[in-house]
Each structure stands twice: as structure tokens, then as C-alpha cells.
């Protein structure tokens, strides 16, 4: 009997600065403090069976993140949520847990798209109308080539196929950009890459001043990651 739990959580505030590896460590330690009966891998170097849907870039917050956690003995999902929440640092919060019954596909295999919201201060020379038309022009491109840093220097990459949707609006002095991007797969695109391409020639803004939030993670057909069970 596999005691597998799919967990939806938030990674916000100060926690958005911790790396994916740090997050793994923090979740493990939180689980230990909560005295969850963690299941471990076999071998010389056993580690807890925790896996994530898609790493979040450092600096980006996540409001709808997912991980799978395996336990050695069963536990009521709401109890798990409550116990874990008392043992996680400020900025990490479990929203929901569900027991995975039967053979659900792995999170990493399921996740296909992510939605993001990026917010910044709206400069006086941009209004909602100009924003929308800039985005439209940007999306009309056949390809969007960016320079991607690799271990051996930079490589050109076309991110256009990975941009599913792009829109924007403005509320008071804020300007918002919403993105739906492919993730996990070969066409994986990072929100920052889109913003970098967008500010070059389309929207004169400073990428560093955006605060980015991942608002959702989805399986194929825009189903939620809780969809299989």
C-alpha cells in the first residue's frame, strides 16, 4: 500500500527567495518537525520520497504549487495539512492535501502549463490601451528569439511556441501582465524570459522591477493537478 499524498501549497513572502533545493530541504525538515512518518528511498543515501511539479525560479512566488509526499503509514489528509502547517516557516503554507489512490501519473509527468501574473508600477506614458496593443503586436511575431545562457556560453532559443497566452491590464498605478506558459516540457519558458523579450522594443519597462507570481499549474487540457483522482 502506497501512502501517497498530493499537496498544494503556497511559497510567498521571504520564501520566494529560496531555491528549489532549499525548498526540498525545508519541506523535509518541516515534515520531520511535524513527525510525519516519511517514506525513504532505498540505498546508501536514503532520502525522503518528496517530488515536485515544477521548480519555481528564485524570486518568483507561487500561490498554487504542488508536491507529492509519500508516507510509511497512512494519515488523514486534513491532519497532515494541519500538522505540517504548524511546522513550516512563514511564507510556506499547505493549502490542501489529497490522498493519491491507484496509479496516478507523476506530478512532473502531468504538469504542462503554468500561469503567471507580473506586476509593476505603471509609468505615465503607458496606459491600458497601449499596453494591450503592445502585447498584441508582440504575440503576432512568428518567433521570439532570446539568448539563453548555457554552460558553454549563450544559445539562441525561440520562446514563442511556449507562450500560450499573454494579456495585460492596469489598475490604479499598477500594471499587470498575465502569462500562460508551457512548463516542464521541452518548450518550457520562464516568465522572466517573456518579460525580457517584451520590454525589448514593445514595452519600455524594467524587468527587475516586476514582481512575479505563479498563479497556477495545470495538466494537459488545463486540468488541475488534482484531476486524476
Amino acid at each position: 500500500m502506497l501512502n501517497l499524498y498530493r499537496i498544494c501549497y503556497k511559497k510567498v513572502g521571504p520564501m520566494r527567495y529560496i531555491s528549489h533545493l532549499d525548498l526540498l530541504r525545508t519541506m523535509e525538515r518541516g515534515s520531520r518537525r511535524a513527525r510525519l512518518p516519511l517514506a525513504f528511498t532505498q540505498g546508501f543515501n536514503p532520502h525522503p520520497r518528496i517530488s515536485f511539479a515544477a521548480p519555481l525560479p528564485v524570486g518568483v512566488q507561487g500561490e498554487d504549487e504542488y508536491m507529492d509526499l509519500e508516507l510509511e503509514s497512512p494519515m488523514q489528509a486534513p491532519v497532515l495539512v494541519e500538522r505540517l502547517n504548524t511546522c513550516l516557516p512563514y511564507g510556506l503554507e499547505i493549502l490542501e492535501a489529497r490522498e493519491v489512490k491507484g496509479a496516478a501519473p507523476s506530478l512532473m509527468g502531468m504538469v504542462e502549463q503554468a500561469t503567471y501574473a507580473a506586476v509593476t508600477i505603471r509609468p505615465a506614458d503607458i496606459n491600458e490601451k497601449s499596453l494591450i496593443s503592445s502585447i498584441k503586436a508582440f504575440m503576432e511575431q512568428q518567433e521570439v528569439i532570446i539568448d539563453k545562457k548555457t554552460k558553454k556560453g549563450t544559445k539562441a532559443k525561440d520562446i514563442r511556441p511556449g507562450i500560450v497566452k499573454l494579456s495585460g491590464d492596469s489598475k490604479e498605478d499598477r500594471l499587470f501582465i498575465y502569462m500562460t506558459l508551457k512548463t516542464g516540457s521541452r518548450e518550457n519558458v520562464r516568465p522572466e524570459e517573456v518579460l525580457r523579450a517584451l520590454v525589448k522594443g514593445y514595452l519600455p519597462l524594467n524587468v527587475e522591477e516586476f514582481r512575479i507570481t505563479r498563479t497556477g499549474l495545470y495538466a494537459a487540457g488545463e486540468r488541475t493537478l488534482f484531476a486524476e483522482f
Binding site: D22, R33, P89
Partner: protein, 623 residues
Amino acid sequence: MEQLLERILATVEKPSRYVGGEWNSISKKWDQAEVKMAFAFPDVYEVGMSHLGMQILYKVVNDRPDALMERVFAPWVDMEEKMRAAGLPLFSLESRRPLAEFDVVGFTLQYEMSFTNILNMLDMAGIPMRSSDRKGDNPLVIAGGPCGFNPEPLAPFIDAFVLGEGEEVINAVLDVYLAQKQQQCSRRDTLSALAGVEGIYVPAFYQFEYKQDGTVKEFKSDSHVPPVVKKRVVVDVNDVPFPTRPIVPHTDVVHDRMMLEVMRGCTRGCRFCQAGTIYRPVREKDPENLLAQAEELVRSTGWDEISLTSLSSSDYSGISEVIGGLVDRYSSERINVALPSLRADAFSVELAKEVQRVRRSSLTFAPEAGTQRLRDVINKGVTEENLMEAVTSAFKAGWSSVKLYFMIGLPSETEADLEGIVSLARRVLEAGRNISRSKGRLRVTVSASSFVPKSHTPFQWEPQDSLIELQEKQRFLKQRIKGKGLTFNWHEGQVSMLEADLARGNRDLAPVLERAWALGCRFDGWSECFDFSKWEKAFECFGIKPGDYALRRYSHEDVLPWDHLDAGVSKKYLTLEHKRALDGVPTVDCRGGKCPGCGICPSLEINTQLVGGKSVEPVQDLL
């Protein structure tokens, strides 16, 4: 500030170094604390967070209802650049307040090569660098730690140094500060009051004139302060606050595990070792106490490894009992036990076997010198037989990688001693070839650091080898320790030389430090930042050269720049030990029951504290 900071954090390497919010970190209400202290670690977050002393003081101060302590680390170069460009002052992790708003800023002095970071942090905080330039509302800047036993190169920058164990002194410091604040005393009165606390050294009240060779020609202390400042120690280690709810960093720090301190002090008496003097006498914690603290640590942190820390954990009398207890209780939770400082003998390998059931990393031993003659000189009580027994049983037990630590440039060293290192390494490799089952992975790594003479040791009078000599010795070893299965590592000689200059220097080095900082020296312990040419320039500005202090021989009659700072071990004893060293005569460890008379027990009115209420009868006055 918050918004500026957010923007900067998005662009620096490892932003989690600067955000805080870790599990067990404490954010107290700013206005409710009468005294606010910042613990300042002059190195990056990952190094600072691995330091047990910080966790101890964090607990002690935050346990007081009238006080708070927050942390600050040296921003890495990328962060410094961005903060300076944005005009952001150095701030604390917990409340993100500028350092200058704290009442007390306490630096820890772990390593001479972090001194320029102290100056840089003061500058980034907007706190006047020199003590004499600070005004009433500037924080009180204090410092303590091992380098506090010869803090003279830092004397103009620090208001007060703490000698000895911080948890003993810190409460007294805060009490004095509070009393003075209530009476609205001047800065100078506060410093005078502090100078009256045992273990506190206020350098402004001591004046020096030096001879050409750097030793003391004339020394005066103000009438209201003690001419010699004695260190403070914890009398009963079972009865002091221990951080069983330490801060758990998110990011990978150097020591990312629970630290369970099993004892203070080490009385083996290696003659090069400053820690062996300044943390004397030995005081062991009770096994039951340790197991209870371990339980609290496990539950409050979630770490998966417990490290039994001390200067020499396999010497701790209750070691088998504690390891057995920990393995019994926690192996089912996959919590490992780590022994960071293993003696080179078969007993220690037995302990390692006990704790490393799950993981197989390498085992490290420190014979320090290549021949028995030189090991007798330094009083390293390890024989070649001990070492061979240790590595043999390690290879038998399945380890395939062994690290050996040596020191080069030790007093009286000759080529024969270097040859000894080579042949030891080869013998160990040979043993591995004969025994090890995984011959393909067999590896013997030899690390050679350079001897750095330190204050308060029997070798405090000894010169360091010149750079050329050290480099020649390194070359000698490099040429011989190579081939399949052998690796040789060494340390940059220039860094060791500056370390020795600062370790044995006097106040004349303060302006050199200041100049080195102004020229851009930071993180001098990090090879990617270290720039010797800047240091050369800084020394040159004052008509001296790097190595001037390192390469000097002092005589027993000289008054040394740190003689007014008393670590408890008498200078008479150090002199005797120095002579015995040169005669190649070893000295016993008082742990065995016979006191060789180092003088600390009578001087500090304290006793060794061993498991089971045992103690060693100290000789009152041997000499």
C-alpha cells in the same frame, strides 16, 4: 527601503542570504526591548550560520525579556556593490533595521582574515570606523572570539573586547549598558564601567609604546582599569543555556546539521594550538544532559544529522554512551550522527563505524607532522602505529578514502620531516591497496597547511617560515605526493603569512588594515577575493612589509603585544613548554589524572569537569 531591497534581491546571487525568516529565528518587538544588540558575523551567511557561538548568544540574549538580538552577516561582493549603489545601509536580517540603530553591535573574531570585513561592515553601516570618532548615539561596538586574545591590530576600531566564553560575559555587558543608559552616562563612562567587568578589555584605556621589533617598550594602563585582563569561562557546562532551538537555515550552509557540544576545552596540549589554551580547562557535559538536549534539537529543527562537536570529540569520556544512545533512538528516523574531530587511533575508527552505518564519506586524521621527532616537538600524542592501526581498520571497515592533515613550517622542521609526510602517505596508500575491497576508489588526500604562530601558545615566540621556504616545502611535497590514489592540497602561503602578521601584530597594524580596506580588500580568506598586491601596498604605505611580524622571533624576556591579556595559562608554563618542545620532550594530558601545571585551574579558580563528577587535582604552583 523595502522596495529598494526587493529590487536588489532580484539581482544578486543567493538572495536567501539576506532575507531571514528561517525556522526558529526570533523577531522580537523592537520597541519593547530596552537594549538591542546585533550579532555581526564578518563573513558570508553560510559561514556565519555554521557557528555554534552565534546560536548560543542568540539564545542567551533573546531569552532576556529586556533585550533582543538580531543577526547581520557580511554581504557578498555583489550585494555590497548593489547596496552601496542604492544607498542602502547594512541592515539586520530579522527586522531589516540599519545596524546603526542598534545599541550594541557585537562582532565575532574567528579568523584574522575577516578583519577587513569588520571595517567594511562598520563602513556600510555608517558607523564611524574608529572608536574615538564615535559619539553618544552610535552603537557600542564590541568583539570577542579566539582572535580576541590578540586583538591589538583592531584596537582602535573596537570599543570593548570580550575575553573568553561569551555566554558568561554577555549578560554582564548588557546589564552595565542598561544601567548606564538609565543614568544617561557618557560614552566614556560606559566604557569605564565595562572595563570593570571581568573579561572585558577596553583598549582605549591602555597605551603602548613599541620597540623596533614590535614588542612592547612601555605599557601604561589607566588607573581605574586592571593592568591585566583575565578571560572568563563557564564553570559548570551542564548549567548553562544551550541552544536546543537553533535557527535552521533554508540554504545550504557549511555545517548544515544539529550541533551538540559535548565538552569545552581540550587538554592534549598541542603546542601550536591556540584553541587548546584559550578554551582550557576541559569541561565535559553529562551524557544524560546531552541526550536530553539531542531530543529537543531533533524535535525543534528537523535536521537529519547530529554532530558531536568539541575540539576533540573522541576524547570525551562519555562518547560511547552518547553515540550508543543516539544511534538507538534516532537511526529508525534516519538521523545520522557525525563526529567531526577524530583522533588518529583505532578507538576513534570504532566510533566512526558505529555512527556511519548508513553513509560512507571519507575519514580524516590529523597527524600534523611527518616524523615522531617532530610530533614530539609539537606534543601531538599520535604515533605512526596509532595512525596505521586507524587507517587499517578504516579500510577494513569499508572506507576507501582517507584524508591526512599536516602542517608545514613547524619549528625545527627539516627535510626529513617532509620526507616523513611523503612516506606516511605512501604507507597509508599501501595499506589501502592491501586491505581495501574497492581498490578503484582508493584515495589518500594529504592536506598541508602552513604553521601560523599564535599568541598564548608555546610557539608564540617562534617565527613563521618565509614565503619562499613555505613554497619550496610545498613544491617538495607536490613533486612526491602524486600518482594513482594520491592527492595533495595546500594553502596559499601569502594568506598564512598575513594571518601570522595579524595574529602576532600590534596596534601599528591598525592603519595598515584600514588602508588595505580602503584599497578594496574584502573576504581575504576567500581565494577569489584575496589580492596580495593590495596588502603589499597597504603595508608599504607605513614603511613595513607583509611578513614583518610573522617572521620575527621574540625572546622569552620580551613583553609581547598581548601580554596584558591573560588566557589563564601562565606565561611561565608556556615558556617551559616552549623549551620542552625544542628538546623534543612531550607533556602529559591532565585528563589522565596528572596535572602538568598549566596554571589555569588555580588562576581562574576553576576545575576540570569530567563525566561522573570526576575532576583532576591541579598543581597549585609548579614553577
